[in-house]
Amino acid sequence: MLPLKELQQDMLTELFNLGMGNAASALSEMVSEEVKLSIPKVLFIDKNALTKILQEDSGGHISAVSQNFEGMILGQAMLTFPTDRSLELIRLLLQDSVPLENLTEFEEEALTEVGNIIINAGLSSLADIFADEITSDLPVFNSGSCEDVIGNINPTPQEQQTVLHLQVDFSIEKENIKGYVIYLLDLESISVLSTHIDNYIHKLSC
C-alpha cells in the first residue's frame, strides 16, 4: 500500500516535475541540446526492486552520481546513465574546454559536476516551494553493475528498506543519451514530506 494519499502523490509528482524542469534546463544549457523529460514515476519499492528496474533499462552497467541531503527531509538523490554513453555526454559538456584526447581523464569529474548541478536543481526547487532549506553533501561518483552501484548508496537498516523512488527519465535525443534522476527517501522522511504536502495543499485551499 502506498504511504501517501492520491492527492499527496499527485502533488509530489507535480513538485518533482517542476524540480526536474529546472534540472533539464540546466542540463540543456550544459550540452547545448534539447533535453526531454518523462512524467515522474512515484514508486514505493525496496532497493532490490530499484536495482532490477535499472538493470532492465541500462543493460547492466551504469554510471551514477549520488548525493546525500538533509534539512526538511533526509535522503539520497542519484543521477544515473548507461556507462557506454558517458563519454559522449562529457564531449557535449566540455566542448572545446579540453582537448579531445584528454577527455577520458576528466570523465569522472565532469560527470560528478553534471550530477551535482542536476540533483541540486531538483532539491532547490523542492526547498523553495516549501520555503525551507535542504543542504547536500558533496557528490560521489560510482560506476559498475547496477547491483554494486545501488549497494554503494548509504546502506539503510532493514526496517528502512522501503524507499520512495521518484524516477524521471531524461533524454538528449540527438545523441541517444538517456538517464534517470532518482530520489530515495526512507519512511520517516516520507512522513515528514507528506506533512509538508498537507500544509501546502491546505494553504492552496484556503
Binding site: L94, D96, S97, E109, N116, A121, S124, D128, E133
Partner: protein
Amino acid sequence: MSEKRTVLIVDDSRVSRMMVKSIAKQNYPEVTIFEAGNADDTLALDITDELTHIICDYNMPGMDGLSLCKALQKDHPSSYITLLTANIQAATRNKAQDMGIHFAKKPVTEERILSILSKQGH
C-alpha cells in the same frame, strides 16, 4: 575587452574551474587567474594582487563558499565577488545577498561568466 582582469576561481570541481578559466582567457587574453579547489588552499595562496573578480563555489570540502567569501571580503574589499553554485535555493541566494555577495547559478556558461566579468567591484 581590454580592461585587465585578475580573477580568483574557487571550486572543488576541476572541470568547472577549467570551464570558467577557458571562457575568461578566450575573452580576456590578458587575464591573470588564481585558482583553488577549497577554502584552505585559497587562503594559503596569499594573494597580494588586487583581485577584480572572485568566483566561488558554495558546496566544497571544509569551509563552505559563503564563509570563504566573507573571509576574502576583508582582504579584497574592492573585488566583485560572485557565488557560482548549483545550490540555487532562495535560502542560499538570500544569505549571499545579505553579505553583499553576488549570486550566479550553475552550470557554467559563457554568457554567465562574461556577465560576471563585465561587472566591477567597489
